[in-house]
Symmetry: none
Subunit: 215 residues, 2 copies
């Protein structure tokens, strides 16, 4: 006799099961989970915005390289704000360096940072002009395909280059600064990117898909 000879019916499903938070290896499961959780995430963000009046933007790149974005009032508005906010009157790496003895470096680093920041904001402005949001509400941002894109792509390459150079600069800088400041630096963000993360990207981003919405 089997293990359950009684009247109990076989459950149709086991229901949700606890999973460990680690990479899902099976591609099909991974993709399903990505879709489900992405929409869940966007939904939550939308609720947060409505409930609290907060502005929020989410950008997600699927393992396949497709980009999804959500934003209220728009992705770019929030991103712009973020970029602007982190450059203006900001305490960051510069402050961390402050009490150190590297004044010359600090000075030059700041210059570069400001430059990069200005460039970024400029780029955001261009992007904004290109794809102004649909009229107030997020989940519906159209994506246009301009020929101008070629130029943009090229500039994106430059952006990448600079980004990596900045990271390199940050590394050099941090090597100079004693390790006492390192934890601060690891958790806080420079006007640019002090992300030490070395994402071994092996994917080829291609698509451009924007968020839809639910709630």
């Amino acid at each position: 006799m089997n293990t359950s000879t009684n009247i109990m019916m076989k459950k149709k499903t086991q229901g949700r099961k606890k999973i460990e938070i680690k990479k899902i290896e099976k591609p099909s499961n991974r993709h399903v989970t990505f879709s489900k959780r992405r929409s869940g995430l966007f939904k939550k963000a939308g609720e947060l915005s409505i409930l609290t009046g907060a502005e929020a933007a989410i950008i997600v790149q699927s393992p396949g390289g497709r980009v999804f974005a959500f934003g209220h009032p728009s992705v770019d508005a929030v991103v712009d704000r973020y970029l602007a906010g982190s450059s203006g009157s900001q305490h960051s790496v510069e402050d961390a360096i402050n009490d150190d003895h590297m004044h010359e470096f600090k000075k030059r680093y700041s210059e570069v940072s400001e430059d990069l920041e200005a460039e970024r904001k400029r780029k955001v402005a261009v992007e904004e002009a290109k794809r102004v949001s649909s009229g107030g509400y997020w989940w519906n941002e159209p994506v246009d395909d301009l020929g101008l894109e070629e130029l943009e792509r090229y500039m994106a390459s430059l952006e990448e280059l600079k980004k990596k150079m900045t990271m390199r600069a940050d590394e050099l800088m941090m090597n100079r600064i004693s390790s006492s400041k390192s934890s601060f630096l690891e958790v806080n963000r420079a006007p640019n990117n002090i992300g030490l993360a070395d994402y071994g990207d092996a994917m080829i981003p291609r698509g451009f898909v924007h968020g839809h919405g639910q709630i």
Copy 2:
């Protein structure tokens, strides 16, 4: 007797209750909800990243004007990709020029090329930019052992180059908008923020960033 005269114990709390998704008017509740849900959101994003290998960035501005961000592998990495419009298949500048999409654009583009030509001493930058998109770690090569000074001079060069390209791009944009087909721009009336955000609040946007999540 009341509806429950039995042995039921007094519940310590009512537990979670369903709420309507609309703005919470009471400030204290709103703030509490913001905090709780923001951390929940970040946690979810972190799980999504780990489970599926996706890259994700979230930027949230609290009703009070404070900015919180989450990013894996970093906010900037993801935001940059978004802004770059997934810079996957890369065209060199030359290739782009060979593409005949719009003559106006092409014409303008050659001006940029002239600039590039003028910046010929920085041709290295172009090469490097190409290499970036091919997925290599460009700086493992020559740049890696540059000193800080060289690095910064190098970046300054890129900066100039890009500045010029950006200016051209802007001009291009304007021309395109005012001349023939500006449908994509006319269709949507600009909300109120193109490039320069004009949010009434006079708060202090603190750059506040979490390198990455918990979990």
